[in-house]
């Protein structure tokens, strides 16, 4: 083995809450990718006609599917909000420790509020009368 110094492993750093936000960005990104495949499947069901769409919506209305949809919604919204935080960082702003902690808190609160709003609107859209 060579004896040159290695890049320090993640474990040597003291854990801070901004790290968990960073990890959550990656996890929610993966979940949002799964959501994209679900979206493609839903569009194909819609294109296949009223019968296929009705069965797809029946499947999406089961309790487990609803729970997953709430999870996908939170994943997408969090990734969206934290993604904007990353884009701001790319301009060189907000990188101080105190600023990054504050913007992290803003992202968490915003993600929870927007998720609640989307879930509420989604429930209304799902239970709205069937006529166009």
């Amino acid at each position: 083995m060579n004896q040159r110094p290695l890049s320090p492993h993640l474990g040597v750093y003291k854990f801070t809450y901004t790290m968990s936000l960073s990890i959550l960005h990656r996890i929610t990104g993966i979940a949002a990718s799964v959501g994209f495949f679900l979206f493609a499947w839903w569009l194909m069901a819609l294109a296949s006609g009223p019968g296929a769409y009705a069965s797809a919506m029946r499947l999406l209305s089961t309790p487990l599917a609803k729970l997953l949809l709430v999870g996908f919604t939170f994943s997408f919204v969090y990734h969206f909000c934290n993604g904007i935080r990353h884009l701001v960082w790319d301009t060189g702003h907000g990188l101080e420790r105190a600023q990054a902690r504050r913007s992290g808190a803003v992202v968490i609160v915003a993600a929870l509020l927007i998720t609640a709003l989307v879930v509420w609107l989604g429930c209304a859209a799902l239970t709205a009368p069937g006529a166009p």
Partner: protein, 125 residues
Amino acid sequence: MSLQTPLGKVLGKGSAGEGVGHWWMQRVTAIALIPLTVWFAIGLLGRSLQSYEAVRGWLGQPWVAVFTILLIITLSWHSRLGIQVVIEDYVHGKAAKNTLLLLFTFVHIAAAAAAIFAVLMLALS
């Protein structure tokens, strides 16, 4: 004196041989996704989703179809770039890594093709 070869200078790629293309397209698609996803969510949540006619009637409109297709392309591209980074970070065997990268590239293209085809069917039939 630069140690870069003339070809290296022209291509503008660093020692990893990839340049900033991945990083840049991740940002470009991210910025495009901000208005596209907000617009789509507002539009979709304004319909009664159990009604095939209502959802189809909305998605089939020309401009809605066009921007939904743009959303599909951008979303699949951004997703593909993100999944690529995850695979490159956690899968270390060369064969396994390249197999997974190839697989997820194909899967993303297939899903995007299906989704675009579905929107075109709704808009054109």
